[in-house]
Symmetry: D2
Subunit: 115 residues, 4 copies
């Protein structure tokens, strides 16, 4: 099991060893986040549910790499913007807990506004 | 400090309490990941470096929420596709370590292929 | 029938009447293009083929608006970067014609590299 | 000068010669649109305004190709969803004309809600 802080340290140490902080303005980092998310999506394009099941057998490693790239930017941006990402996730889940109350929404994928 | 596994449990418990796994096929989850990354990016659009610095003073919470939404999908997809995301990140960083050797790349933002 | 040039003029006249060219650097325009494409995608998320067919009955206008927003940025960027987008499309189709020869690829959705 | 209908015909003829309509469900087409927009964006990442000006000298053709790919999907989706994209753009511009009145907004890049 890894702590978020350990993973963040891994990412920041990698970056700082290369003296890349100078390039990491928030706008370009957010572009990277978005481009890496697109690379995750690309794996599932043009595939039916069955084709995806088949594809997953041989490509879990590749998809794991792309998800890792997304996580890299989440951790790096959190660090640079001084955001406690664990706390942010916990708070967001509490907010979603209220927004999507279990008793009203169980088994439905309706947007909150339509409940 | 939070462990990745704790945060993943938070996400999966939230989802399973609502019986939403039935909707979470990988293609639509990857679309969500991509749309949430776009929402992070939207915060930085049309802003100069100075305007972003100013904007960050009042909007760190909002950006934290969007980054949390991205992390939500990274953790949920990792869980559903049975990917150990901590391991995936560590392996990716080792790979990047070789791809971007410190001594050759320090202070440059060149792509590996151009070194 | 509308000419591409007429539509481009519509877009540029709208922009210039508001004196917005000063904000339209290529990076932020490309971000806009990407965000508007995400808004098109959002319409189809979490929907099965049948649900999409049903959804299309009432939402063609909305989707048309989002596609128009994407076209807006394609035309505006083409103008500002001095790219003849009709020519660019024709040339790209000729390139694709060679890359995906009809006799080899008919009915297959294989990538060229796998033929 | 090219008509939108001519370009749409080019795109649809290319597709139909390959019998690819069977793969072109709206969700996957919208994913393509989004991925191609990401490829446009990638050209401008990590570059300052000056670096972009320099880059444009040699890469106009490449960017034109990516914009053409985006246009390809706009035209193909418009065709398949039976959307008159010229009309959609004209209507959207009229709507924007009212939303962003010239006299109030000239030279400002404020969102309408903040006027």
């Amino acid at each position: 099991m890894s702590g978020i802080e350990d993973l963040k340290k891994l990412v920041i140490d990698f970056r700082d060893a290369r003296d890349w902080k100078q390039f990491h303005n928030p706008k370009d980092c957010a572009i990277s986040l978005s481009l890496e998310a697109a690379e995750v999506l690309e794996h599932f394009q043009w595939k039916s549910k069955d084709e995806i099941d088949e594809y997953l057998k041989d490509h879990k490693g590749d998809i794991g790499e792309e998800l890792a790239d997304v996580l890299y930017w989440v951790l790096l941006m959190s660090n640079d913007l001084d955001i406690d990402i664990s706390e942010a996730l916990k708070k967001k889940m509490e907010k979603n807990d209220k927004k999507y109350p279990v008793e009203k929404i169980r088994g439905k994928h309706t947007k909150y506004t339509k409940i």
